[in-house]
């Protein structure tokens, strides 16, 4: 009798345990993930919004209510305007140029060629190497006196360009150098995405076109480009989102300064300088929110396109 009782009790315990497990087990798996997420993602999101709208009287140092002062200040700030125009210039030159080049290269790589592994390695390598290290090499290439680029220009009879130096009214070549480096940096990722897009095109289209006597240029513009269009568009948007965060690319050229004459601010550089070097959290937060809104707009565009093309 006693045995039966304990057995019954035991089974109820086990059942209780089971229910307990079913209900709480998922949280056991989630605790480490959730902990990190709350502390380092969710709390910062909430906090940055609060910081951006908190107004602080500089003289008294007291917090006094909420408002748009930080945004007003940031939008009127010369460095931020410089950052905004540089960032937009960077995004709207680097992304289209890299995309066009990547379409051409991806097309070449999409053929039956020998030495594919070598070509892939050559074209994709910049993706895994740090902008700081490789940027140093570019800095040497851009050198005004002994750089390779100016030597190539001299072969064509073009005078030396002061790529990274302070010549000219606002050293206009500085941002050009960053853009060239940026294009080189962005190519691998772009080629990979476009190449996988190309490989998804049904070869039947090409066979049919060839039967109808279409030339390769015609096939490129009438089949490849239209069928690749959604991938191209998607890739451009992903690239724009990452290009808006340009920061590492400007670090090696001037050893951490934004250009030879403080003329190559980018949005992320501005944010970093405001909160880290200048200890102005409110301004940094406001600038970060402006950056987020831009990225948000592009992400929405991406979603819309994805849905539109059922991609």
């Amino acid at each position: 009798m006693a045995d039966v009782k304990t057995a019954k009790k035991k089974s109820r315990d086990e059942q209780g345990n089971y229910i307990f497990n079913r209900r709480f087990e998922p949280f056991g798996y989630l605790i480490p993930f959730a902990l990190g997420l709350i502390v380092f993602t969710i709390y910062p999101i909430v906090n940055v919004v609060i910081m951006a709208f908190k107004e602080k009287y500089r003289l008294s140092g007291r917090y006094d209510g909420f408002g748009l002062y930080n945004f007003e200040y940031v939008l009127a700030n010369d460095d931020f305007r410089n950052a905004l125009s540089n960032t937009f210039l960077y995004v709207f030159t680097v992304v289209p140029i890299a995309t066009v080049l990547a379409i051409l290269i991806a097309n070449l790589l999409n053929q039956k060629i020998r030495g594919m592994a070598i070509f892939q390695t050559a074209y994709f390598l910049p993706m895994v190497t740090s902008s700081i290290a490789v940027g140093l090499s570019w800095r040497y290439i851009f050198n005004t006196q002994v750089g390779v680029l100016n030597w190539i220009l001299s072969v064509f009879g073009i005078n030396a360009v002061d790529w990274l130096g302070a010549s000219g009214a606002r050293a206009p070549w500085n941002i050009v150098a960053v853009i060239i480096f940026g294009i080189w940096n962005m190519l691998p990722f772009t080629i990979i995405l476009l190449l996988s897009g190309l490989q998804n095109i049904d070869p039947m289209y090409y066979t049919a076109a060839r039967v109808d006597g279409a030339g390769s240029r015609m096939m490129f513009f009438r089949i490849t480009v239209p069928l690749l269009a959604p991938t191209i568009f998607l890739t451009m948007i992903i690239n724009m989102i990452s290009a808006f965060k340009v920061y590492n690319e400007i670090i090696p050229f001037w050893s951490g300064r934004p250009g030879a004459m403080n003329n190559v601010y980018t949005m992320v550089y501005f944010i970093k300088e405001q909160f880290y070097s200048k200890d102005r959290l409110g301004f940094a937060a406001a600038a970060a929110i402006i950056l987020f809104l831009i990225i948000f707009a592009f992400t929405m565009l991406q979603r819309f396109v994805q849905r539109r093309f059922r991609y």
């Binding site: 087990e25 998922p26 798996y29 989630l30 480490p32 993930f33 990190g36 997420l37 502390v39 380092f40 993602t41 709390y43 910062p44 999101i45 940055v48 070449l108 790589l109 053929q111 060629i113 592994a117 070598i118 070509f119 390695t121 050559a122 994709f124 390598l125 895994v128 190497t129 740090s130 700081i132 290290a133 490789v134 140093l136 090499s137 570019w138 040497y140 002994v146 750089g147 390779v148 080189w184 190519l187 990722f189 990979i192 995405l193 190449l195 996988s196 992903i238 965060k245 920061y247 590492n248 670090i251 050893s255 992320v268 970093k272 909160f275 880290y276 959290l281 987020f292 990225i295 992400t299």
Partner: protein, 275 residues
């Protein structure tokens, strides 16, 4: 036939031309590490250094700055980050893919929305947080903030979702707990996805730059990228030596890429790099 041959010629011509441009910065960095001062400053440039065994620049770079320590730090950070992020991601992805709890899909949808928020926006608060936790100037501060990655969890959850439920039920009938099922069945099946995540994570931890510059000021805890940066910021520092140090710093990633190219390329094609 002849037209085909000409076309082929042009394909190879352009591919090789492009490849040379893409690889040139690497060649230039590596070859310049072996140059003497005269070769480095010559114009027209010295295309090939006279002595490929001239290790002077490497030796002097490592004498001037403690790159051994920086390397060790980077290796430790990268390994710990890959291991810890891997475990946390596996557990999280499993919970979101297989276990039932209230608002599971709504929560996951919200997390995906968070993915839009750039790290640069979180960094302001995270810097204050780790300062308050007195974590600055340590190696864990380079690892812990990145352990919970929505992006990697998303990739792995998607893969877990493709594993048929029938496997799960038969494992449960055989008496396997969720825990055993996860590690004995799911993880082995998801190995290709896991390898991809770990590779992408290794690349981004090794190359991580902005966060370390904020939270590490002490020489002892500098990573390779940070070491390079402080090396180049020093007044009157010799560029040849910086290039020698850079060459060494990218070697691990080049080796990784040569051995795991297919995994990395596939991973990128599917989800893109973090950040």
């Amino acid at each position: 036939m002849r037209a085909d041959r000409i076309r082929h010629f042009f394909v190879y011509f352009f591919l090789i031309f492009g490849a040379v441009i893409m690889l040139f910065p690497f060649y230039w960095m590596i070859s310049s590490s072996f140059k003497t001062a005269a070769e480095y400053n010559s114009f027209p440039p010295t295309w090939v250094p006279s002595n490929w065994l001239n290790l002077d620049n490497f030796v002097r770079a490592f004498e001037k700055r403690n790159f051994f320590v920086y390397f060790l730090n980077s290796v430790i950070v990268t390994f710990c980050s890959v291991a810890l992020t891997g475990i946390v991601t596996i557990l999280g992805a499993f919970a979101f893919s297989r276990l039932r709890f209230p608002f599971r899909n709504a929560v996951f949808g919200l997390l995906l929305a968070f993915m839009m928020v750039p790290f640069e926006m979180l960094v302001i608060t995270n810097y204050q947080t780790v300062t308050r936790m007195k974590m600055v100037n340590s190696l864990p501060v380079l690892i812990i903030p990145f352990i919970s990655s929505i992006f990697y969890t998303y990739i792995l959850k998607n893969f877990f979702d493709t594993i048929p439920d029938s496997l799960y039920y038969s494992a449960r009938i055989d008496g396997a707990s969720n825990w055993k099922y996860l590690w004995r069945v799911m993880v082995p099946i998801a190995k290709p996805s896991l390898v991809t995540i770990m590779l992408l994570n290794a690349i981004s931890s090794w190359n991580s730059f902005m966060w370390p510059t904020l939270v590490i000021t002490s020489n002892r805890y500098r990573t390779v990228q940070l070491g390079l940066f402080t090396f180049m910021s020093e007044a009157g520092s010799d560029t040849k030596l910086q290039l020698a140090a850079s060459t060494v710093s990218i070697l691990p990633m080049i080796v990784l890429f040569l051995f795991a190219r297919r995994y990395i390329v596939n991973g990128v094609a599917r989800g893109g790099l973090k950040g």
